[in-house]
């Protein structure tokens, strides 16, 4: 049956997706855990696959009174190894950065996981997040890697202006309110 038919040879290599660094982050996530009373938090979801994270972002105390604030991000969540490893790597990568630096990092990493910028071999990576380049060969998994970065981008945009100063109208802690019929409640009858 296999003879004489057309054979597709463009098989992406799973080793590129599940690089050691990614597997390691998914098994031993950094910065994981709920932060009670956190200043800024935002939930991110991939509704079609069920990946779910909540980011907890805090401002680090600054030594100089006029310095731009630096952030620290923690998370909790569940989902596939790519989404959870990407979140763990992100929290590590953006912590102690200013909002502007974090935005720059978000943009740079988007180039890595979408394949917009070229890849390096696993031995040459300067930062863990560069291991996400393998995701770009698996189009359906890009959204898994993108989830924490898109969520943080939204969190920062909602709470900080273009220069990185906290917006006066910033809403402190907010869990995403999805669209839907929230004003009326279903009358669910139990079988008991």
């Amino acid at each position: 049956m296999l003879q004489g038919s057309e054979i597709n040879k463009e098989t992406p290599n799973l080793g590129e997706l599940y690089q050691e660094i990614i597997v390691e982050h998914s098994r031993r996530p950094r910065c994981k855990g709920r932060v009670e009373g956190c200043q800024f938090c935002l939930e991110g979801k991939n509704p079609l696959c069920g990946d779910n994270i909540t980011l907890f972002c805090q401002l680090q105390p600054s030594a100089q009174p006029n310095a731009l604030p630096r952030i620290k991000v923690n998370f909790e969540g569940s989902g596939c190894s790519i989404s959870q490893a990407s979140t763990s790597m992100m929290c590590e990568a953006v912590s102690n950065k200013t909002v502007a630096e974090a935005r720059e990092q978000i943009n740079k990493v988007e180039g890595i996981y979408t394949g917009r910028v070229g890849s390096k071999s696993e031995d040459d990576l300067e930062e863990d997040v560069e291991a996400l380049h393998g995701v770009s060969k698996f189009p359906v998994r890009i959204k898994c890697a993108a989830l924490p970065w898109k969520t943080l981008e939204l969190l920062l945009n909602e709470n900080f202006d273009d220069l990185g100063h906290q917006r006066p109208e910033s809403l402190a802690c907010k869990i995403n309110e999805p669209c839907g019929n929230k004003t009326r409640k279903l009358k669910v009858i139990s079988s008991e």
């Binding site: 049956m1 597709n8 290599n13 799973l14 989902g79 190894s81 359906v140 079988s191």
Partner: protein, 417 residues
């Protein structure tokens, strides 16, 4: 008579176009175990669609010219074909073409929210429904402020996967206006006791709506013989194309339901002051219908009946049972399979490897399986998991699929150990 299994794949061009040299250098055929989401299309259906679009295409019921007449004849013949497919008691005038099961169920839920549901009434569905048979009823309940109740499973966390009929008897109360359920579950493949539940509904004067998306490919029984009032299914799970679904209504319910969509083709008269609706199926088919898709579906039903629905069911259920048996001995795997011998679906998960990771790794061995919550969040939650991988078997599935899939699952668990 068609021989089911691997030899049938010569009728499905997709298999010869998707042989893959995998990363380990081994050339593997397509192991397609996702037919519960959508089946592949036999050459006969593809040829019919191409021939119709090439020779006879025109819009239906609108033109005076020959092409429109020919297209209308074939479209109406497709409607009659669907009626015959369901059973002798069904007339073509009860068969509404829609865009799919989801639209079919939305028509019924929306319609009943206008005609029967109110704050003193109750909708009864089950906890195992696909979102297509769940969200429209929740919306109808919100709109009308009626009650909604869910028939639970007998056990929790995957212990007893049957619907709890004693709970059903309690929930289907005298104020119940409609009971809607799946004939076959899309996650566990269990065959629900429709006749028993329909009898409970009949006793209190409630309507019965049946989601047949997963069952039409395997069951020859006419659901109207069990006392149901409406059935819904999709063409693309029946070896036909996407974009066409079916809603079959009892004559009384067809009269009763107002349209979900309004516009061209469904009206009786339109003035600047008011519009009135056409009667019969036309009322529920606003706009240009899925003409090409419906005609393709009629050929798919010819093909399906030639292959034999009961034969396909027995064939696919045997493969599912074998797959479940082999899966149970793979370490680290939890299997969610009722095991009555009727299921053509096996859901499972790995205890440490997320379902999406497992599905991506299986694709590396040219094995196509669905991973996630399968549009049934409440059920997946009841089972106590966040995602499942699902294998579903069809007419073209065979023992080689079971072997290829089991080998790939074993290799996957090894890869990320």
């Amino acid at each position: 008579m068609k021989k089911l299994g691997a030899s049938l794949r010569s009728e499905f061009p997709v298999f010869s176009h998707n042989i893959r040299q995998c990363a380990d250098g081994v050339v593997r055929p397509l192991c397609y175990l996702d037919s519960a989401v959508s089946t592949h299309k036999p050459q006969a259906v593809i040829d019919r669609v191409v021939a119709f679009m090439s020779r006879d295409y025109g819009s239906v019921h609108r033109g005076a010219y020959a092409l429109s007449v020919r297209a209308s004849e074939q479209y109406e013949a497709a409607r009659a074909r669907v009626a015959r497919f369901i059973g002798a008691s069904v007339s073509p005038g009860q068969v509404v073409f829609t865009r799919g099961t989801t639209e079919s169920l939305n028509i019924v839920a929306h319609g009943l929210s206008e005609t029967r549901l109110s704050s003193d009434k109750r909708i009864v569905i089950t906890a195992i429904e696909h979102h297509a048979n769940l969200v429209p009823w929740q919306q109808a309940a919100l709109k009308t402020e009626c009650e909604i109740a869910y028939i639970p499973l007998c056990g929790t966390a995957g212990k007893d996967l049957r619907l709890d009929l004693s709970a059903a008897a309690r929930l289907i109360s005298s104020n119940t206006a409609v009971v809607s359920l799946a004939h076959v579950g899309n996650v566990l493949g269990q065959v629900n006791p429709v006749a028993e539940i329909a009898a409970m509904a009949r006793k209190v004067g409630a309507l019965v709506v049946l989601d047949c998306a997963q069952s039409m490919t395997c069951f020859e029984e006419n659901p109207f013989d069990w006392g149901v009032d409406a059935i819904a299914f999709s063409g693309h799970k029946l070896y036909g194309s996407t974009g066409v679904g079916v809603l079959v209504l009892s004559p009384n319910l067809l009269d009763e339901l107002p349209p979900l969509l309004t516009g061209g083709g469904m009206i009786s008269s339109v003035t600047l002051e008011e519009s009135t609706w056409n009667t019969g199926t036309a009322k529920l088919e606003a706009g240009t219908p899925p003409i090409v898709e419906a005609i393709g579906l009629s050929t798919a039903l010819d093909w399906l009946e030639e292959a034999g629905r009961a034969r396909i069911h027995a064939h696919a259920a045997t493969l599912a049972a074998r797959f479940a048996d082999e899966l149970r001995v793979v370490s680290g795997i939890d299997v969610f399979y009722p095991g009555t011998g009727e299921e053509t679906i096996v859901s499972f998960r790995h205890q440490t490897l997320h379902a999406h990771d497992l599905a991506t790794i299986l694709d590396g061995s040219n094995v196509a399986m669905r991973a996630g919550h399968h549009c049934a969040w409440p059920l997946v939650k009841i089972l106590g998991v966040d995602a499942l991988v699902r294998a579903s078997f069809a007419a073209y599935s065979d023992g080689d699929d079971v072997e290829q899939a089991i080998e790939a699952i074993k290799a996957a668990t090894f890869l990320l150990k």
